[in-house]
């Protein structure tokens, strides 16, 4: 590629041009769109719909657990509720939530590219997602599934419920995830514009790249595992049937070989969002950029070596358990490094406590608890006791909700002006963050106590000594649901009544804030000027438009440099 002389770097948006939402109209323009932003928005709608569905299941099962015996449903219905809650939340909401919905939207823009490397593959990934969701809904319509979201054999091969449609759904969703991963890897590697070196990439892109590595390497194994489960169930080939020489525990190895890395598919992009928000809202350069970037890659690679820690009590050999325990602790280190670097970023910054930052603070608090309680689960002796109790339920909600969902909400409130060009009511946003944070802790902290005291998970009837904790938890879940209602109304209200958003309302230095809000069809009218993504000294605040602009001197410097 020869050197080019861009005419004008970082042209200021005038706000009058067509954006990606208005450039093309009609339902067809959405169904057949190849624009990564529209695909991202559709993913956002579908994942949020799934979140609602999974949330309704959660509220129903929490209500059932108000009393130690039957409250509103029978045991079989309850078993289906927690299975569907888990399956919908994991496969339809959290895994595609941040990478496919938000990543699709922001990755090319942050990179300075016009689109994903393979727009058709991207659309195919969305179609597969919808198809997978259809199968999941079909499974629910056919009487539900009662295996737990892990589909453990041999229970899943002999129960009478609709396991096959559900696993086919999960299988298809896996391929949707693989396609997204391929796109992310190729886009980041090959579509970087001039000046966008690896170490000028925003940390969100490092996270998404690390996520894509996991999606590529782990998801096919889930695919083949579910395929074997389907074959076993349909044809009785005896893969997991001890009566035919098979081994049911092998399924668990296969499943966790995917599903442990999969929790990092959920958490890594969340960590990326935290890095993206914490720096501009501290008005300070991110601390330890390279360490945060490489810790993402380290987590991605180490995540493949720890699956056996789900199986300390599965009759796996004590030697294997010991090795897996040791490897598990190694994942704690890069996570801790990230948290310390975020705190160091806040140190002597100028903290702007707007809504996205509140979600980030909530994230650090909740993920702190989630991460530290992971130590009890990675440690051999204590895991034996708390494995498969409410302690585990609480732990993974603190990591999987306190992590990805808090970050996703933070990201949603952070990028909302960019997505839809509207500002929401700041105080409503803050209130929703507070409500969700409070409700969440009330829901899940009592579960730690129950779990340590021996309350097994997936129990329909439970001993009366746990009743008070279950009741606290159920009340908490109602508060949590109310918090999300406030989130919903805040955001939807902004679409109709919100102030028009400027290109860069927060003063962030990453590239997506250089293009207008919402961005035009191909993102950048002119290739953007690539700068340090966390150097805010190049920006200046313009009170008249309530917007941050690139200082003219920065443009001149870059032009001079190129010349």
């Amino acid at each position: 590629m020869t050197t080019s002389l861009p005419v004008e770097h970082g042209a200021e948006p005038t706000g009058t041009e067509d954006n990606y939402l208005t450039c093309d109209r009609g339902i067809k323009s959405w169904i057949f769109t190849l624009d990564h932003k529209r695909i991202g928005v559709m993913y956002l709608i579908f994942t949020m719909g799934s979140f609602l569905l999974g949330g309704v299941f959660a509220l129903l099962l929490r209500t059932e657990l108000l009393t130690p015996q039957k409250t509103i449903m029978d045991a079989d219905t309850y078993n289906q509720m927690f299975t569907l809650h888990g399956a919908v939340m994991v496969f339809l909401f959290i895994i595609p939530g941040i990478p496919a919905a938000m990543g699709n939207f922001v990755l090319p823009i942050m990179l300075g590219a016009k689109d994903m490397a393979f727009p058709r593959l991207n659309l195919a990934s969305l179609y597969l997602y919808v198809l997978g969701a259809v199968f999941a809904v079909l499974a629910i319509a056919m009487g539900g599934v009662d295996t737990g979201w892990t589909f453990y054999t041999p229970y899943s091969t002999e129960t009478n419920t609709a396991v096959i449609p559900m696993t086919i759904g999960a299988f298809i969703l896996g391929f949707s995830s693989v396609f997204t991963g391929i796109n992310f890897i190729v886009t980041v590697q090959k579509l970087r514009p001039k000046g966008m070196t690896w170490f000028k990439m925003p940390l969100m892109l490092w996270s998404l790249y690390a996520t894509a590595i996991i999606q590529i390497l782990a998801t096919p194994v889930l695919g083949i595992t579910l395929l074997l489960l389907i074959i076993e169930r349909a044809l009785g080939v005896g893969i997991f049937d001890p009566a035919l020489g098979g081994d049911p525990v092998l399924y668990q190895h296969f499943f966790w070989f995917y599903s442990h890395p999969a929790v990092y598919i959920m958490i890594l992009p969340a960590m990326g969002i935290i890095s993206e928000i914490i720096s501009p809202f501290s008005r300070k350069h991110i601390f330890g950029y390279t360490f945060i970037a490489f810790s993402s890659i380290a987590i991605a690679l180490l995540s493949f070596l720890v699956w056996g820690h789900h199986m300390f009590t599965s009759t796996q050999s004590p030697l294997a358990s010991t090795i897996f325990s040791a490897l598990t602790f190694s994942v704690a280190i890069p996570s801790a490094v990230k948290v310390f670097n975020w705190l160091a970023t806040m140190f002597r910054g100028r903290l702007v406590l707007k809504t996205p930052m509140l979600w980030v603070l909530g994230f650090i608090f909740l993920f702190g608890i989630g991460g530290l309680t992971g130590l009890f689960l990675g440690a051999l002796a204590t895991d034996i006791h708390v494995h498969d109790t409410y302690f585990v339920v609480a732990h993974f909600h603190y990591t999987m909700f306190g992590g990805p969902v808090m970050a996703m909400m933070g990201g949603l409130f952070y990028w909302w002006p960019k997505f839809f060009g509207r500002m929401y009511k700041e105080n409503w946003g803050r209130l929703s963050a507070l409500l969700v944070f409070t409700g969440f802790n009330l829901t899940f902290f009592p579960q730690f106590i129950m779990g340590i005291r021996g309350m097994p998970r997936r129990y329909f009837n439970y001993p009366e000594k746990f009743e008070i904790f279950h009741q606290l938890s159920t009340i908490g879940s109602y508060v949590l649901a109310f918090g999300f209602l406030v989130v919903f109304f805040t955001l939807v209200h902004s679409l109709f009544r919100g102030k028009k958003a400027p290109a860069n309302p927060w003063g962030s230095a990453t590239l997506e804030w250089r293009c207008p809000s919402p961005p035009p069809h191909e993102n950048f009218i002119e290739p953007p000027l690539v700068t340090d993504p966390y150097d805010f000294s190049i920006l200046e605040y313009d009170e008249a438009s309530d917007c941050y602009h690139l200082k003219p001197s920065a443009k001149l410097a870059e032009d001079g440099e190129v010349a």
Partner: protein, 270 residues
């Protein structure tokens, strides 16, 4: 040359800057996709490795039911098809669309041949009741000289090469199945000195699933080739536009490669 001129190279999609960038992206994407394919089969190979380690005697015994000759011919066919596919890529690079058509046709024929032979093998297995898992119900009536795939290996091997009972430490550590497949008439077999291991069905589960999934990939590959064939007929390929043929060929080589592992692991055990 300026990268963002509106008059783009017609072969380059709007969001790419250069032909080279598009080509490299396509190639990288294909390679990453092939990694996922390898991992998909990796799960099956893992399954194979674990059960072969757990039940070596099952694999030694049951692999004799597979026809090495047919398997070998199929291996050669697939290797040849990889050659013709690579040839097609070269022809596309040189813009010789006619040669592309011919080479892809040969490859397609090879694929058909492979599936045809596979169908013959599958048919033998079905007739002999060598079906997976709980459907496993071998029949020995058709003995003597009929079909190598159906013949009881104990008699097929003859005196020259009597089947060796596996040494004790080779045996499975798992207790015999509570309910095993019916139909082998174990008592009689044992009386004749031939030791039929438990859980023979396991081998056929692995055989059917692994070759079946591979067969599906062959079918998918044939679909890709037909698509390439139609494009080549329209004379679409040339030095600046052969990415599709290149990627199709990469996929076909991986399908070939998987078979090259499957053949010795399933057919050439004993």
């Amino acid at each position: 040359m300026s990268d963002h001129e509106p008059d783009h190279n017609p072969h380059v999609a709007h969001h790419y800057e250069t032909e080279k960038q598009q080509f490299e992206s396509g190639k990288l994407g294909m390679w990453v996709f092939l990694v996922t394919e390898i991992l998909l089969f990796g799960g099956l190979f893992c399954w194979y490795a674990i059960y072969r380690a757990n039940h070596p005697e099952v694999f030694i015994y049951a692999s004799r039911y597979l026809d090495k000759v047919l398997g070998g011919i199929n291996t050669i066919i697939l290797i040849c098809s990889s050659l013709t596919m690579a040839w097609a890529v070269r022809a596309a690079q040189m813009g010789n669309n006619k040669l592309v058509v011919r080479m892809i046709l040969v490859t397609l024929l090879c694929a058909c041949g492979f599936l045809g032979i596979k169908a013959v093998e599958y048919n033998h297995k079905l007739n002999a009741g060598l079906t997976p898992g709980r459907h496993y119900a071998p029949r020995h009536e058709e003995q003597a000289g009929a079909d190598p795939a159906v013949v009881d290996p104990a008699s097929a091997a003859g005196d020259a090469n009597p089947p060796v009972a596996p040494p004790d430490d080779d045996k499975s550590l798992i207790a015999p199945a509570a309910r095993g497949p019916e139909g082998l008439n174990l008592g009689e077999e044992k009386a004749q000195g031939e030791q039929v291991p438990d859980n023979v069905a396991l081998f056929f589960s692995i055989y059917w699933v692994m070759t079946g999934l591979h067969g599906l990939h062959v079918l998918a590959g044939m679909g890709v080739m037909i698509w390439l064939l139609l494009r080549a007929k329209r004379g679409e390929f040339g030095p600046h536009n052969f990415l599709a043929v290149d990627c199709g060929a990469l996929y076909w080589h991986v399908v070939d490669l998987v078979w090259i592992f499957l053949f010795p692991l399933l057919y050439l055990i004993d």
